[in-house]
C-alpha cells in the first residue's frame, strides 16, 4: 500500500524513505535531545493528565474531590455505568452519524471546488480563493453566532424570507428546537468552515499532476468522471487519506460549535455530541470520574476506527 514514493506532490526522490541508517551518528542522544522539549511539554501537560484521567475513571470523583476530599475507588463501576447507559450510546451514535455526514459532504464539496478552481482563469480563481479564505478564517464562535442569527427564531433572515415568499407566518418558528433542524444547521456551520482547507489542499495537490498526463487521458476519450477517478485520484490518494482521517478526528471531536449553538437554542439532551457530553458530565455536573471513563471508551473506539491508518503508518515508519 505504501506507494508514497511515487507521490508527485512532493519534491522528487526519496520521499518516503525514512533515513537510512547513517552509522556516523552513533550516539542516540542527539535525537532525544531534540525531542526533549516536546517530551517535557507533552509528558507534563498531556501524559500526566491522561494518567490522572485513568486514575479518576476508577474513582468516584466529584466536585468534593476537586476541593481535596479523598476519592473512593469504585473499580469498573464508571465503565459499566457508561456502557449500560443508553444515553451514552445515543450520544456516540449521533456523533458518528454526524461525523460521517459532515466528512462526506466536506470531502465531496471540497474536491468539487478544487476541480472547479482548476478550470478557472486567474481572476475567478482568486475570487473563489478569497471566499474560501474568509470562511476558513472565521472563528467557530463567530461563525456559529452568524448562523444562529440567520436562523434566529424571531428576527432571523430565514424566517423573514420564508414568511415573505410562502405567505405563511414563520416568525417564531424555532429551527434549533427540532434535533434534525439543529444538526442541519450544525452541518452548515461545520462544512462551511471545513471545506476551504480541503479545497485548498486538494487544489494544490491536483495542480501538481503533470499536464501531459491529463491531456493524454483526454485524447484517449476518457470522460470527466473517468479522468478524475482513474487519472487524478491515484495521484492524490495519500492527500485524500490524510484529509479524511483529519476530518474524521475533527468532526467526531467537534466541540465549540455544538456548545455555542446549544447556548443559542436547542434541546441539549437530543443534540449532545461526545465532546459536549463529556464536558457536561464533568464540568457541568461534576461527575469527573464518569467523564474520564467516557473519554477512554471514546479513545478505544477511535483507535478501532483508525486502526488501519495507524498500522499503515507504523509499517511505513519501519526502520
Amino acid at each position: 500500500m505504501s506507494s508514497l514514493a511515487t507521490e508527485p506532490a512532493a519534491p522528487p526522490a526519496s520521499v518516503s524513505s525514512p533515513p537510512r541508517p547513517r552509522r556516523r551518528r552513533r550516539l542516540p542522544t542527539v535525537p532525544w535531545l531534540l525531542l526533549s522539549a516536546s517530551i517535557l511539554i507533552l509528558g507534563v501537560l498531556t501524559g500526566y493528565p491522561v494518567v490522572r484521567m485513568l486514575v479518576m475513571s476508577f474513582q468516584e470523583y466529584e466536585r468534593a474531590q476537586v476541593m481535596g476530599m479523598p476519592a473512593e475507588w469504585v473499580g469498573f463501576d464508571n465503565y459499566t455505568a457508561i456502557l449500560t447507559d443508553s444515553a451514552f450510546w445515543a450520544v456516540l451514535g449521533r456523533s458518528i452519524l454526524f461525523m460521517l455526514v459532515a466528512v462526506v459532504l466536506t470531502m465531496v464539496l471540497g474536491t468539487l471546488i478544487a476541480l472547479l478552481m482548476m478550470r478557472l482563469g486567474k481572476g475567478l480563481r482568486l475570487l473563489v480563493s478569497v471566499g474560501l479564505l474568509l470562511a476558513w478564517s472565521m472563528p467557530p464562535l463567530s461563525s456559529t453566532t452568524i448562523w444562529g442569527w440567520i436562523f434566529d427564531t424571531q428576527y432571523g433572515l430565514v424566517n423573514n424570507l420564508l414568511t415573505r415568499f410562502t405567505g405563511e407566518r414563520w416568525f417564531g418558528h424555532s429551527w434549533l428546537l427540532d434535533p434534525l433542524g439543529f444538526f442541519t444547521i450544525l452541518t452548515f456551520i461545520i462544512v462551511w468552515g471545513a471545506i476551504p482547507f480541503v479545497a485548498f489542499t486538494m487544489y494544490a495537490g491536483l495542480s501538481q499532476i503533470p499536464g501531459e498526463v491529463l491531456e493524454a487521458a483526454q485524447l484517449d476519450g476518457a470522460g470527466a468522471f473517468a479522468r478524475f477517478r482513474l487519472v487524478m485520484l491515484p495521484y492524490v490518494r495519500t492527500i485524500v487519506t490524510v484529509l479524511v482521517v483529519l476530518s474524521m478526528i475533527w468532526d467526531l471531536k467537534v466541540f465549540p460549535q455544538v456548545y455555542a449553538l446549544q447556548d443559542i437554542g436547542g434541546d441539549r439532551q437530543k443534540t449532545n455530541t461526545i465532546g459536549v457530553y463529556i464536558y457536561q458530565m464533568g464540568m457541568g455536573q461534576g461527575h469527573f470520574g464518569t467523564a474520564s471513563a467516557i473519554a477512554f471508551v471514546f479513545v478505544a473506539i477511535m483507535l478501532l476506527l483508525s486502526i488501519y491508518y495507524v498500522r499503515r503508518t507504523m509499517k511505513e515508519e519501519e526502520l
Binding site: R63, A64, V66, T153, L177, D267, Q280, M283
Partner: protein
Amino acid sequence: MRKNRLVAVTAAASMTLAMGACASGADAADDGGPSTGEVRVWLVGTDTPDEARDYLKTTFEEQNEGSTLVIEEQSWDGLVDKYTTALAGSDAPDVVEVGNTQASAFTSNGYFSEITADEFEELGGSDLLPGFVEAGDWEGAHYALPYYAGSRAVFYSPQLVDGEPPATLDEYVDAAKDMYKKGKFSGMWWPGQDWYNALPFIWENGGYIAEPADDGSWEAGFSTPGGIAGLTQIQDLMLNASNAPADGQETDLQVPFCEGKIGYLSAPTWIQWSINAPEEPESDDGVPGCGSTYGGDLEAFALPGKDGGAAQVFAGGSNIAIAKKSEQRDLAYSALKIMLSDEYQSIIAGIGLIPAKVSLSGDVPQENSIGAAGVEAAAGAKLTPATPKWADVEAQNVLQTQFTRLANGDDVEQVAADIDSQIESILNG
C-alpha cells in the same frame, strides 16, 4: 521581518502581563494576613444596583483601611462550571454570589467556608429569609446566606388592559386568552424556555417538581394529575395567548412590552425600571424603555392562586458565601457583613428586590401597586427541591428544553413523562 517584530512585541507584552499577574498574586499572599489586602467579590448578573456596589466598596474601604474591594461581575450562564474550578483554585475570589437553587452543589462539596453560629447571629440570625437560609445550609451548618430574593408580579398597562385584575388563576388564563383573540396581540408573554413562570401553575393545580419518596429516592411530580393539569394550562397559554418565540428566553422583556403588544407580563419586579426607562437611553449601552407611553402608567398585581389570593410562585434569588479558599477570611467576612447590613439591604429593597432580612421588607417601595404586588407574591414563594443535584437539573436546561416542547405543541403527557424521568435520573443518579 514585520512578523518577527510583532512576535517579539507580543511576547514581551505577555511577559509583562504574566509578571503583573504574579506580582498581584504575591501582594495578596504577603498582605493577606488579618490586616489588609484585596477582597474580590463576585456578583452575578446585573441585579445588584450600582448604588449598592458603590456603597459596598466605599464602606468596606473605610472600615478596613489599606484594603481594597473589587467587584467582578460574572454571568449566570455557565456559572456552575466556572465556580467548580475557580473556587477550587489558588486565585479564588473571597465572596461569591450564587443562585439559591445552585447553592447546594457547592455547600455540599466543601466549596464554601462555614458561617459559625455566632457569626450567623451577628449577620441577622432568624431575621434572614428562612427559605434561603435553608438553601445555603448543609448538614446542619450554615455555608451560604440569603442575599436577595427576586419576586414576581404580573405587569400591565391600563392603556392596553381594561378592568380589574383577575381574582383567580383560571380567570387570569381566560382573560389572557380573550386578549389574544384580538389578534396581533399577546394576552400574556410566554417565551418557551421560561420555566420560572410555569412552576406556579404546577403548584396551584396540586402538582410538584420532586418530593422525597419513602425509600429516600426522589420522585418527580409532573405526571401527577395536578402536574398534568398545570402543564395543560401552560400549553394552552403558550399556544393560545402568547406570540413569544417558542424557544425564547426570559430576556429583555421590556422590548415587546414597549411595542404595546403584550397584555399581562409576569416578570421579576425590577423589570419596571427597564420598562419605564426613557426611549432614548442615557448611556450608550442602555436599553430603551417606554417611559412616556406604556411604561408611564405601569400597574401590577400578584399572580392569583387557584382559589384566589396570591399563587405560590417560584422564589428566585441569590445566596452569598465566603469561598473556602479565600486567603483572608476576616476581610471577606467584613465584606459579607456589609452586604447583609440594613443599609446595604435597604438599597437592594429600594429597587424592588426582596431584601435578605424579613424585617426590611417594608423598605420595598409600596406606594404603587407594583411594590405591593411584589411583597404579596414573595409571601407565597416556594423553592426547588432541596438537593445538591438540583443544580445539575438546571445546568442541563431540563425544564427549559421540555417547556419549549410544550410551546411547540408536543403532547402534554409525553412531555410530563420525559421531564419526570430526566429529573429522577439526575436527582437519583
